[in-house]
């Protein structure tokens, strides 16, 4: 009981504190999701607390992910008049992003000599965690490990996204949104929302398209591994 209250309230307080730190020192290394996660992992390791015990409270936060994904329909609806002109572009770019993500992840892991289980868990990394976990179990990977790679994709994308966008001179809100949504799913969409409503809406649309494409394509692509 005490652990669950502590982990629930502690996570929220820590995250808000880290948000302030990031505001004072806006470097990607201090993104709240990075610092909060690192600190929480250290606290759990140092106090010898099991992840299951932490999740008794943490669960109440994770539970809101489902309704949050549903809530993405709101900016999508709100921005629809501006988005529908570009719907084909959105679908096409998301499909291209999905294919690049699936193949580059898979072939790099093969190149690095990873075990088959790891490769299979890595393939669906550019889609939102609940879908990636379903896909991983479909193609005989490890769902929880898939969730870890999803987080790597999400966090690295939101850390280095602004740098990539600057270097590649990408300014159009639609291009920015597609980049974040196709590469970094929900975490990227949260970042895209910081740019603006339109970027966020495009990102959630790209994330939806990518998730659909990935669930359709992954089983076929994984079959190439045999």
């Amino acid at each position: 009981m005490i652990t669950s209250v502590l982990s629930f309230a502690g996570t929220i307080l820590l995250f808000n504190g880290m948000k302030r730190v990031h505001k004072l020192l806006p470097t990607p290394l201090l993104l709240p999701i990075v610092t909060s996660t690192a600190i929480l992992i250290m606290v759990l390791l140092l106090t010898g607390t099991a992840y299951e015990a932490y999740m008794e409270g943490g669960e109440f936060i994770s539970m809101l992910l489902g309704p949050a994904v549903v809530a993405l329909a709101f900016p999508l609806h709100d921005q629809w008049d501006r988005l529908k002109k570009h719907i084909l572009l959105l679908a096409g770019a998301s499909l291209a992003g999905t294919l690049i993500g699936l193949f580059s992840g898979m072939y790099m892991a093969i190149l690095f000599g990873m075990d088959s289980e790891i490769i299979r868990s890595l393939i669906p990394k550019s889609v939102t965690a609940p879908i990636a976990m379903d896909i991983a179990s479909m193609i005989h990977g490890i769902p929880a490990l898939a969730a870890v790679y999803v987080m790597v994709a999400g966090i690295s994308g939101s850390m280095f996204g602004p740098f990539l966008m600057r270097k590649l001179l990408i300014q159009n809100p639609i291009a920015v949104g597609i980049g974040y949504g196709a590469a970094s799913h929900g975490v990227g969409t949260a970042r895209a929302l910081e740019y603006g409503e339109q970027e966020g809406a495009v990102s959630s649309a790209a994330m939806t398209f990518s998730a659909i494409f990935a669930s359709l394509l992954c089983p076929h692509i994984a079959a190439l591994l045999l």
């Binding site: 929480l40 489902g66 993500g101 994308g157 980049g179």
Partner: protein, 129 residues
């Protein structure tokens, strides 16, 4: 206080849609997660005008404002797999990282170029007419 009550009710409504989505997923065995089905359903309801944006405005923006926080407990789950990232395992994280950069750069860059082309074309047409 009224504001918080409205947010709580609207979040509960979104929760209900998410659960309905999960239910549909279980019934139809679609390979798409329930929350995503819920999102597509809500989008259709909003488009059709059967659901008013005001019914979910505050609840949605509350959740989306705090979206990153919601990922934190799941990400802490990394703790169970730290051993997989010892030694050669770290390369799998490198593969995920490089692949993410490729996806982000290429998909954003292709979109930017294609929008520029479109803009240039409509600009020319504008001059000709």
């Amino acid at each position: 206080m009224m504001m918080y009550a409205r947010i709580a009710i609207q979040v509960a409504l979104l929760f209900g849609i998410s659960i309905a989505g999960m239910f549909i997923q279980r019934l139809t065995h679609l390979q798409v997660p329930g929350s995503m089905i819920g999102m597509i359903m809500l989008f259709c309801l909003l488009r059709a005008g059967w659901m008013k944006p005001e019914w979910i405005r505050e609840g949605s923006s509350f959740l989306l404002r705090n979206l990153t926080l919601l990922f934190v407990p799941g990400t802490v789950g990394l703790i169970q797999y730290l051993h997989l990232f010892e030694g050669k395992g770290i390369l799998s994280a490198a593969a995920a990282l490089i692949s993410t950069f490729l996806v982000m750069s290429l998909s954003a860059w292709m979109t930017e170029k294609s929008l520029e082309r479109k803009a240039a074309k409509s600009g020319r047409e504008g001059l000709e007419s």
